[in-house]
Chain length 436, copies 2
């Protein structure tokens, strides 16, 4: 099976656990054998368990590459969008990547799947079925529609010609009001899940026809000039040869705290406790500070180095404008080489905790306007400062003046405290070099 | 006026803003001209504004001395209890201190006042009056009783002989149920505020008679052997020559989050915001992480490095057992020389932020089982390590091996990051030395 996992989205609706560099699909929410896993990890594992040989390509933006490598490993196929251009350019680029880099035949079916719904095994069986249909049917596009469980005003609806399991599509309807949604459902309408399958050739042709570029390099190099347009709008809604497959299994959109907590198997993740008078309360705590809740009802408490949200569940869906007002310095991030977390901000200094994975290293870089001091708190490795190498271990201190090139190559897992000192400290003050 | 301010109490009911080394009276809650002030600061300032020459002695335990000096300055009179022995030994020791150290005549009246009620100017006029009464009346003890505003089950009641402003006391009643409280109030009963006045000689005599020791040194040296007993129980309730003065002004006991927030003039202290659907919500945030509250009603959110409490206000009065279960490492403290705050705890290391006041220094000390590294983040001063002095400033690093004596003397206000490294890190691993 060839799968394009769409991993986009900003981090505002699930603040403070998501941020500008960690979208909601990377929040670790679901208990598994190996600790908590994120939506992305869960979906990736579920696909792998069903089909060990699935060719999975993650279509994503540059900002998410580190998080993907951190959570899914270095071997995962990634089609990196040079800039944000909505789903049609993203899917076009990923299809070209599949064809040229992964050498997938243009005759093979491909299924496009958003990374963030909460689903179980049935969903993946349905994906396999969908792929088979796309490979054998005469239709250009095969959609997966979700059997609605209530007349939602949040989703787009697919109106099928008839109510059989597989049907031609009659029309698409945007988010309706409740009464209209009820009328649609009576006609057998389905929620548009954003899942669809096609033969690779179909999208390669569409890209060439509608975007005017042919092939991976051509698309990649001209990506910034492409028009922002969704695949639904550019292709799906204009396609006459289109069918939909009905899916009756579990499918939950975890886009707000309200819906996300519905998908959680545990009431408390992280250091938290609640007294007996709490009802329908969820606590998600990524701080190392304990949370105690008393008498809270229908609420969510979530905490990270970026902020603490205490919200009535229903109210939580209105979070976006408030988060936009909060000064959101990125306070934590997963990187391909490990992770970092801001411990303290002071005028003229920033204290950061850095975790390096065994065998990994951060980029070789310098800063123009700040000095840095590293203190090794655990583990051992090699510091390189202006080409000079030095073995370092717990208790060692490395001083890096402004302008010095520096990196650490971790021999074991390592923890550092980094102290940045300068009148102006900003993330863009970073110049990267090649380490010989 | 001679005042003994009783500053006792543990920090459990107002967790996480109070802890084992910061009792509730040191939480900065009240806006003033010079930023927020604590109950202790407010009370101290209010007394000073009324009577510049008041002799104020704070009776307190060893653990609070640093916080008192930090908040009230170095000049404040403190009678330090060598151990916790309840109010009769504490008041006896403070009276001996007043007589011998402060040279107050045994004929002078003294008023004992708990440090933690929320009061206004009228209360201090009443204290002056109470002192005058104690100095002129034939009664041995003059109590201040609070006119009840509702039939509380939380307070002890004083039953006076009659309902005039000043009356002999008929009896004392422990915390009654509501119906009984209503009956008491009909008789003119008053809440026992814990405020009382007497001539110094009276308590000096009582100490000798009931505790068996005479004079400050004698009491201090034998303090650990004294029986734990309250002044109310040992003296007040057994005294026949006793009167009560009625007080009708503002008096609020701020002992729980529920009552404390009633006394707050502002809804939000620290970095917090709430949306329009919040009602009767208070946010107290001592973290540098923003709090966003949405749709919360009748609740309190309070946060410090020690924990985050999210509680229904009424439920917050049941906090004590839950806090006892939480592993409460002291995560912040005010010291006479400044303050500290734990930034990060890791197996084998602890990262701390230290603030030193200009001209101050921490004790000259060593640790047996840990190395320490200081990084100066702002300011300048002098580090002393094993008698070697060195001027240090922003960006300098001081390495202190286990066993080395060390301190910093701040020339300006200073901020340090301290990294402790060792297999066993514990607060008791500290040996103090005299710095020549």
């Amino acid at each position: 099976m060839n799968i394009i996992l769409l991993s986009g989205g900003s981090g505002k609706r699930l603040w403070p656990l998501s941020n500008d560099v960690r979208s909601k699909q990377f929040i670790k929410l679901f208990p598994s054998e190996h600790g908590y896993e994120s939506m992305a990890q869960r979906m990736y594992r579920q696909i792998r368990e069903l089909d060990r040989n699935a060719v999975i390509t993650i279509a994503t933006s540059r900002t998410q590459v580190s998080a993907i490598h951190n959570q899914l490993g270095e071997d995962v196929g990634i089609s990196v969008e040079p800039s944000r251009r909505d789903t049609f350019p993203a899917i076009s680029l990923a299809c070209a990547y599949l064809h040229e880099i992964k050498k997938i035949s243009e005759k093979e079916p491909v299924v496009v799947v958003p990374v963030d719904p909460y689903v179980d095994e049935d969903y993946f069986f349905a994906l396999t079925r969908l792929c088979e249909l796309a490979g054998t049917s005469d239709c250009n596009i095969t959609l997966m529609g979700i059997s609605p469980t209530y007349p939602s005003e949040k989703y787009g609806y697919i109106i099928p010609r008839n109510t059989s399991e597989i049907s031609f599509v009659k029309s698409f309807q945007e988010k309706p009001d409740k009464a209209t949604a009820e009328a649609y459902i009576k006609q057998g309408a389905l929620w548009n899940s954003g899942v669809f399958a096609f033969r690779l050739q179909y999208v390669l042709d569409k890209s060439k026809e509608l975007l005017g570029y042919d092939g991976y390099k051509d698309l990649y190099d001209n990506y910034d000039t492409l028009k922002k347009i969704s695949f639904d709008y550019a292709v799906v809604e204009k396609e006459a040869s289109i069918q939909v497959m009905r899916f009756n299994g579990i499918w939950k959109d975890l886009g707000t705290w309200n819906t996300l907590t519905e998908g959680m198997e545990e009431k408390i993740i992280g250091n938290g406790r609640m007294n007996d008078s709490c009802r329908n309360l969820h606590i998600l705590n990524e701080l190392n500070i304990p949370i105690l809740a008393m008498g809270m009802k229908d609420a969510v408490i979530s905490a990270s180095p970026e902020g603490i949200l205490v919200s009535d569940k229903e109210q939580s869906s209105y979070i976006k404008p408030y988060v936009e007002e909060i000064n959101r310095q990125v306070m934590f991030a997963d990187k391909s080489w490990g992770s970092y977390r801001v411990l303290d901000i002071e005028k003229g200094s920033l204290t950061i905790k850095i975790g390096l994975k065994s065998g990994c290293r951060m980029s070789y870089h310098s800063h123009q306007n700040r000095n840095e001091i590293w203190i090794v708190v655990s583990g051992r490795g090699k510091a390189v400062v202006n080409e000079n190498e030095k073995l370092i271990q717990k208790g060692d201190v490395v001083m890096i003046d402004a302008g010095c090139k520096h990196t650490i190559i971790a021999e074991t897992e390592m923890t550092l405290v980094e102290i940045q000192l300068g009148d102006e400290i900003y993330i863009e003050d970073k110049k990267k070099f090649t380490l010989n």
